[in-house]
């Protein structure tokens, strides 16, 4: 009887310890990924967004991006003409402003917009958010493949439109390689792939693509003219700057 009790205790401890170690590993991997993605103090760059519909027809958008830390960003469209000048300022705590030149004023965007597609792309406002993944998801290490960790990320917020995200993280450099997004009904709805390249000391997502599996629509975002640590300040991420 004693032996049995001891065995149960040992198994229980092992399971607890084992799970804990697994959780720690997953947390560390996710934290390392965040460190890779968000280590620059600030970033400026241009992005070309190519929208590809199910017939293979392409449309192009262009925008300038500036970002500071993990929670301040201005995204300003420069093309096509119908969207040029439209800009979005993202600030901490889900505070977002939309500036439309035709109206001449900024407008607060409700946080419900986060589940919507951003400017006709396959990325939602939520996907575009630069909040660290470790603050958005609870990770679980599913497996270790050759060259990549496979994590299952469960959104912490119940407002998220996803039930989980399966993400592959580069084993050596800890940048995200691919992601699969599942809806609340546990159906895979989107697939994303990213290509990272080192610029100076930082890994840069040179190209990201997202495919909406239901619509068979793909968005490719190609970054160029990327510069890191140029000394942007909080004053560069204000409504004043958004309207300039």
């Amino acid at each position: 009887m004693r032996k049995l009790k001891l065995s149960v205790l040992v198994i229980a401890l092992f399971l607890m310890f084992g799970f804990n170690a697994n959780a720690q590993d997953a947390n560390t991997i996710l934290k390392n990924m965040d460190d890779v993605m968000y280590s620059p103090k600030d970033m400026t760059g241009k992005t070309k967004i190519i929208l590809i519909d199910k017939a293979g027809k392409e449309k192009t958008r262009e925008a300038d991006i500036i970002q500071k830390g993990t929670d301040k960003r201005i995204f300003r469209f420069t093309a096509p003409s119908s969207q040029a000048g439209i800009a979005v300022l993202s600030l901490p705590n889900d505070v977002m402003y939309l500036y439309m030149p035709a109206f001449g004023k900024e407008r607060r965007i409700s946080s419900s917009v986060k589940s919507q597609n951003f400017a006709g792309t396959d990325f939602s406002y939520d996907d575009m958010e630069s909040k660290p993944n470790s603050e958005k998801y609870t990770p679980k290490l599913l497996e270790t493949e050759e060259g990549a960790y496979v994590l299952e990320l469960t959104p912490i917020s119940k407002k998220s439109s996803y039930s989980k995200v399966i993400m592959k993280v580069h084993k050596t450099h800890f940048y995200p390689i691919s992601a699969e997004f599942y809806d609340k009904g546990n159906r895979k709805i989107k697939e994303g792939i990213s290509v990272y390249k080192k610029i100076g000391n930082y890994w840069n997502a040179q190209e990201m693509s997202m495919t909406n599996l239901k619509k068979n629509h793909t968005t490719r975002m190609i970054m160029s003219d990327v510069k890191y640590d140029t000394g942007l300040t909080d004053d560069d991420f204000t409504v004043r700057k958004l309207k300039q």
Partner: protein, 460 residues
């Protein structure tokens, strides 16, 4: 050798200098953008009269002058209205055969960090947009209303002004605006011409045979015709808010003196009316934020007229034997404050549907506590086919002019809309406007003008 080195160095410097200058020129070159809009409307009722014809070329010029300054202008070149040809002489006038106009909507220079790094200055013709509500902004009173198209809510013209914005930090700022001379609102045109004109009640037995009026403009001096505004803007606890004050004039004229002149012996009269623009204080407040994912906003403006506005009816001509002038005074606007306000909310559903609701107390043309009507506006829209197609099956409003007698004082507006992005830069919109109602309110006045509307907008 030294000489060669020096020449070589100078050539290098020159090349680098030229390239640098070119790069600067590229960044500072004049940018031209704009749009071409054609807006065609016809009445639904047989014989389907044409209700609106507008072909507008908007040209936006923008030039970065230096890193801290820019020039911007918006010009409208339009063919608007239908030819009003009455005689063969009119055929010699191209302005009548093919009516057009040119408008400078905005033309200003903006200086960022002027004198102090926290101060931005804008000088010239400009649109000063105040308020957090969606198009219906009671606090947006610095620029004159552009009421030409009454269905384009919230459209204002630019004012020749100086505007200073001082930023205390990233969250709090103060804006001061000075507009040296008064510009009245321009009134609706075409079939909308009488939409804002209140019906005239005449004493029993009188018939209006003719009407003339005279506008008394404020004198063009700083004291009489200027407008000034001050706004404090901030961000706290997740909400944007502002407090504002305007010392200005109501841009829509109000009748102050009517002269009744009999023209026959059976009660026919002509009326000559004098109208003026009254001075008013306007205290404003607004906020916007998000609660539980729902976007919310509120905006209110308290209008406090400087003086009571009295309308005098001069009936002396009808009583020629009276030794005294026969006049009748009616107070048309008390010196009491009246408050117009908007409460609104919007929500984006996960399936791409967008819902917007606003409750408005007091439309732009309504004045005085007793004249403010209640407006409930709702819009539901959804995008399809990768955002190419947008359908708004629900759009419009319900208006109550008198809660105690709704049956006779209401209006309904239904504006369903469908728009299609034919290319990245070309949008085609087809919509209808259906009006119904009874009593004294703008939308009830339009009940005979149900219309179909077609718009094509091309951006470049």
């Amino acid at each position: 050798m030294k000489k060669i080195n020096l020449i070589f160095a100078m050539v290098i410097v020159l090349i680098i200098g030229t390239k640098f200058a070119r790069a600067q020129e590229d960044g500072n070159k004049l940018k031209l953008s704009g749009e071409l809009l054609t807006d065609q409307r016809f009445l639904l009722e047989d014989p389907n009269d044409w209700a609106w014809n507008e072909n507008r070329l908007t040209l936006n010029f923008e030039k970065k002058i230096t890193d801290n300054s820019k020039f911007y202008s918006e010009v409208w070149l339009r063919n608007i209205g239908l030819p009003n040809i009455n005689s063969s002489a009119d055929l010699y006038n191209k302005g009548i055969v093919d009516p057009f106009n040119l408008e400078i909507r905005e033309a200003y220079v903006q200086l960022f960090g002027f004198l102090s790094k926290n101060l931005d200055v804008k000088i010239g013709r400009q649109r000063i947009v105040w308020g957090t509500a969606d198009k219906l902004n009671p606090t947006d009173n610095l620029n004159p209303y552009d009421l030409e198209d009454v269905l384009d809510f919230g459209r204002h013209r630019g004012s020749d002004a100086i505007s200073l914005n001082y930023y205390f930090n990233s969250e709090f700022s103060m804006q001061g605006v000075f507009i040296p001379f008064f510009q009245p609102a321009n009134m609706p045109i075409g079939i909308f011409a009488n939409a804002l004109t209140p019906s005239m009640e005449l004493p029993q037995g009188m018939t209006l045979m003719g009407f003339t009026d005279q506008i008394n403009m404020p004198k063009y001096n700083l004291g009489e015709s200027s407008t000034a505004g001050l706004k404090f803007k901030g961000f706290a606890a997740g909400f944007d808010f502002s407090l504002s004050y305007v010392w200005g004039r109501d841009g829509m004229p109000i009748g102050t003196y009517n002269t009744f002149i009999p023209v026959d012996t059976i009660g026919g009269i002509n009326i000559n009316s004098q109208l003026s623009f009254y001075r008013t204080h306007i205290f404003g407040a607004d906020m916007a934020g998000s609660i539980g994912g729902v976007g919310v906003w509120a905006e209110a403006a308290a209008f406090l007229p400087k003086n009571e506005v009295v309308m005098t009816n001069d009936l002396s001509a009808m009583y020629p034997l009276s030794p005294m002038p026969v006049t009748q005074d009616t107070t048309v606007l008390d010196k009491d404050a009246y408050v117009k306000f908007v409460l609104g909310a919007d929500y984006n559903f996960a399936n791409g549907t967008y819902l917007n609701f606003q409750y408005l107390h007091g439309f732009m043309n309504e004045r005085g506590n007793d004249a403010l009507n209640d407006y409930f506006f709702l819009r539901l829209e959804k995008k399809f086919f990768d955002d190419k197609l947008k359908i708004a099956p629900i759009g419009g409003g319900f208006i109550v002019a008198d809660w105690e007698d709704i049956e006779n004082n209401y209006a309904l507006v239904y504006v369903p809309e469908i728009s299609y992005m034919a290319t990245d830069n070309a949008e085609i919109t087809l919509s209808a406007a259906i009006f119904d109602g009874k009593g004294e309110n703008m939308f009830a006045n339009l009940k005979d003008y149900n219309m179909m509307m077609f718009k094509l907008k091309y951006s470049f």
